[in-house]
């Protein structure tokens, strides 16, 4: 997989590397950073917006956004928790993103959860409380309306998004090695 993929470089110092190997761009807008968990070896690119400030209404410490290992949040993508009424009062709900999730550039994500080995193409809009199960591909420019459920091993596309195809049985290995490969290729110049 990816024997000819080029190395992706960034200017030294433009990314912060954490102890667990996360690489977070200094140009990313991260609000409420204390409410965000990164699993390790994940990449947050330039000009992304992570809204960790939109937390639950109940008291106490809450994780607003948890991102697993080997994830990618592409340029200009926005991750923001979805909100709705619960027992008459408004509250935001957390977003859980599992391991090996690639979100390409210019996406707007308001999902409730995204399973492992999910690839979301460029310019996608993932509506509020969407649940994407493990092993799925959202094609570029897809719009998933509020509350859509994406079952495992499916490919979605269109506006509004529809199930267009199913994935081959090898997809999990393909996606895992793709994500690991991408992380290894993402280096400072």
């Amino acid at each position: 997989m990816g024997a000819f993929d080029p190395i992706i470089t960034y200017e030294k110092g433009t990314y912060i590397e954490t102890d667990t190997g996360n690489k977070v761009s200094r140009k990313a807008s991260i609000t409420g950073a204390t409410n965000i968990i990164l699993g390790g070896k994940s990449i947050i690119k330039n000009d992304t917006i992570l809204r960790g400030d939109l937390r639950r209404s109940t008291a106490g410490q809450h994780v607003v956004l948890s991102i697993g290992r080997y994830c990618l949040i592409g340029e200009n993508s926005i991750i923001r928790p979805p909100g709705k009424l619960h027992k008459g009062s408004f509250t935001f709900y957390p977003i859980r993103i599992s391991d090996f999730v690639h979100i390409q550039s210019n996406c707007i994500i308001e999902a409730a959860s995204i399973g492992s080995c999910v690839e979301i193409g460029k310019n996608c809009i993932i509506g509020k409380f969407v649940i994407i199960k493990d092993l799925a591909i959202i094609l570029p420019d897809t719009v998933l309306p509020e509350g859509t459920i994406v079952p495992p091993m499916s490919i979605w596309g269109g506006n509004p998004g529809k199930l267009v195809d199913t994935l081959p049985e090898t997809y999990q290995e393909t996606m895992e090695s793709k994500c690991k490969n991408y992380y290894l290729r993402f280096k400072s110049a």
Binding site: A3, F4, P145, P151, P160, T166
Partner: protein
């Protein structure tokens, strides 16, 4: 730019038709979509594998539907999952606003407006609401059931459908294998069995009289009508003619009146009021053509599939999904057996000064000669090359060099032989020739990631390093084959190939010497493409590559169906040493783009 793998289906492995034949592209797949049957030692694909449905589930509520209920549910979700009639996204259930606050808008209306029944289905994509078609529900669960009770179905249509179903049901139960034997024969059941019934029916339909040919068929039948009738029925399953309860002819007059209504509606609503054809196709029975008459459909079920080897004597499972999780209980995929082939690093060879002839005047033989010269002088006089993007079109008369990378999926090192398959005599000539300077090389074993890292530090992970360089250089001349000239010199010496594999030399070779680059379980070798100067049409640069790999067999001493194996692969019997080596040959099609 793609590399696809050939599947020979049930035939014995053979080189596929060259890409210049239009009919030869059918059985190529990318590696991630292929399966591998260990018993048959053969590649299988989605077209040839036998497919059974392992389980049904609703893609929206993810409920596993027991297969016993599927037919009664008409293959659609029987709970509360509906798709929107205008935009096809899934509908959600919404409680209605409290009627008491209907005239207050603004901050005063905020007092607990969320309330109970009646419930409606609403679409979050386009804000369609089931109130538009007059549907509302007392409970927020089991919508399909509530709807069934409301029964929006026309009685006439339903009774007709039921009687047709009864009619066909008797036929289906008759033709299915008896259930008593199913327990024993389940594992070897032929899944294509009732396809044969379908083909019979289809064939039967084909044999029917065609309207315009009545005279002809009457004439032919006249010869021996009675006998012919008997003959036709012989061997066919009996299916009585279905007599409809209600003939469509009788409703002809009312139809006309409906059309008048339709035109009136259409005048009122304008073009947007007319339902799109796509929406009308989706509802299987006769529905109005106005968009407000299109009803939500229950969401069709999805399946998980079990895949089997298609060979009649094998039928081993290739894919067995776990119904509860996304894992596979059995997963025999080709990517665990065959090396992954990738192609990249395209470079265009720049003309060197010593070439006096212009490429336009060169014949194929000249180019061949030139190429051989160039290879001989390699090293001392390096060829100048220029990097190019992979997707730019090729130019006539130019030479391009690529790198082809093979990734070893096995935990043992393998030996690779790359050849270009023999072209049939009458095959159309291609507009380019392919040169593989180093057709023989080895690939290191797949290891865990940490093992590589250690190796990289100590720099001694290459097996048989010293031997490879020399041998591969030796092979290179002989192994060169070209398609353009039709001179297939695919002869190769097998000498000491196996000793390379078994030798464990820790000395690192100068890998880059013959354009061989090794890193982990990936080996990259060069590949040259020479586009002929005299090209008239915009042709594709596409060729087949035969790849044979030699690997250490681990099932030593347990010879499986030997006869079959000899047929399916050229087994190397010359070595009866302590370790046994096997060959496997497969074909890939490499598409590099097109000539400008």
């Amino acid at each position: 730019m793609s590399v696809t793998y050939s599947c020979c289906h049930l035939d014995s492995p053979h080189a596929p038709l060259p890409p210049s034949y239009p009919s030869s592209s059918s059985s190529y797949h990318s590696l991630d979509k292929l399966y591998f049957c260990e018993e048959c030692d053969a590649v299988r694909c989605d077209l040839c594998s036998a497919i059974e449905i392992a389980s049904y589930f609703c893609p929206n509520c993810l409920f596993d539907v027991p297969s016993a209920n599927v037919r009664a549910d008409k293959n659609r979700c029987a709970r509360s999952c509906f798709s929107c009639p205008t935009c096809e996204s899934s509908l959600s259930i919404q409680a209605s606003d409290q009627p008491s606050t209907d005239n207050a808008v603004g901050p005063t209306a905020t007092a607990m407006t969320l309330s109970g029944p009646p419930y409606a289905l609403v679409c979050s994509g386009c804000k369609w609401s089931s109130k538009e078609v007059g549907w509302s529900f007392d409970k927020p669960t089991g919508i399909a059931l509530q709807l069934q009770k409301m029964n929006t179905q026309v009685d006439l249509v339903q009774s007709e459908f039921d009687s047709l179903k009864d009619h066909l049901e008797s036929y289906i139960t008759l033709s299915n294998p008896t259930p008593s034997s199913s327990s024993s024969s389940r594992s070897t059941r032929n899944p294509s069995r009732h396809i044969s019934h379908l083909t019979q029916m289809a064939q039967r339909a084909l044999h029917r009289d065609v309207g315009g040919l009545v005279a002809y068929s009457a004439r032919s039948k006249r010869s021996s009508p009675a006998e012919k009738g008997e003959k036709e029925k012989f061997g066919w399953d009996e299916l009585d003619e279905y007599v409809p309860k209600d003939s469509w002819r009788r409703t002809g007059l009312e139809k006309g009146l409906e059309d008048v209504d339709l035109i009136r509606d259409f005048e009122e609503s304008g073009a947007s009021g007319l339902a799109a054809l796509v929406k009308r196709w989706q509802s299987s029975w006769d529905r109005g053509s106005m968009s407000r008459e299109i009803l939500p459909q229950r969401i069709p079920l999805q399946t998980k599939l079990t895949k089997r080897c298609p060979h009649p004597n094998c039928r081993h499972l290739l894919i067995q999904p776990d119904t509860k999780t996304v894992r596979m209980k059995i997963k025999m995929v080709a990517s665990n057996y065959l090396p992954l082939v990738e192609i990249g690093r395209r470079r265009r060879r720049l003309p060197s000064n010593d070439i006096s002839e212009s490429p336009d005047q060169m014949s194929v033989q000249d180019m061949e000669k030139q190429r051989r010269e160039r290879r001989r002088t390699r090293g001392g006089n390096p060829v100048r090359e220029e990097d190019e993007l992979m997707d730019t079109p090729f130019k006539a008369g130019e030479t391009y060099s690529f790198q082809i990378a093979l990734t070893n999926p096995l935990y043992d090192p393998i030996q690779i032989r790359l050849t270009l398959p023999h072209q049939p005599k009458k095959a159309p000539k291609t507009d380019f020739s392919v040169i593989i300077p180093t057709p023989h090389f080895t690939i290191n074993a797949l290891k865990d990631a940490w093992a590589y890292e250690e190796d990289d530090e100590s720099d001694d992970y290459l097996m048989g390093g010293s031997g490879i360089g020399g041998l591969e250089a030796g092979f290179s001349e002989e192994g060169t084959t070209t398609t353009g000239t039709g001179t297939n010199t695919g002869t190769l010496s097998r000498k000491s190939k196996l000793t390379i594999l078994s030798s464990n030399n820790n000395k690192r070779s100068k890998e880059n010497l013959n354009g061989i680059e090794k890193k982990g379980n990936i080996t990259k070798v060069g590949l040259d493409i020479q586009i002929l100067p005299e090209i008239v049409r915009k042709s594709k640069v596409e060729f087949d590559l035969e790849i044979r790999y030699t690997y250490k067999a681990d099932d030593l001493g347990t010879p499986t169906n030997d006869k079959d194996e000899n047929k399916s692969k050229d087994k190397d019997n010359s070595t009866q040493n302590k370790e046994e080596y096997k060959n496997f040959t497969f074909w890939t099609r490499v598409n590099l783009g097109h000539v400008e």
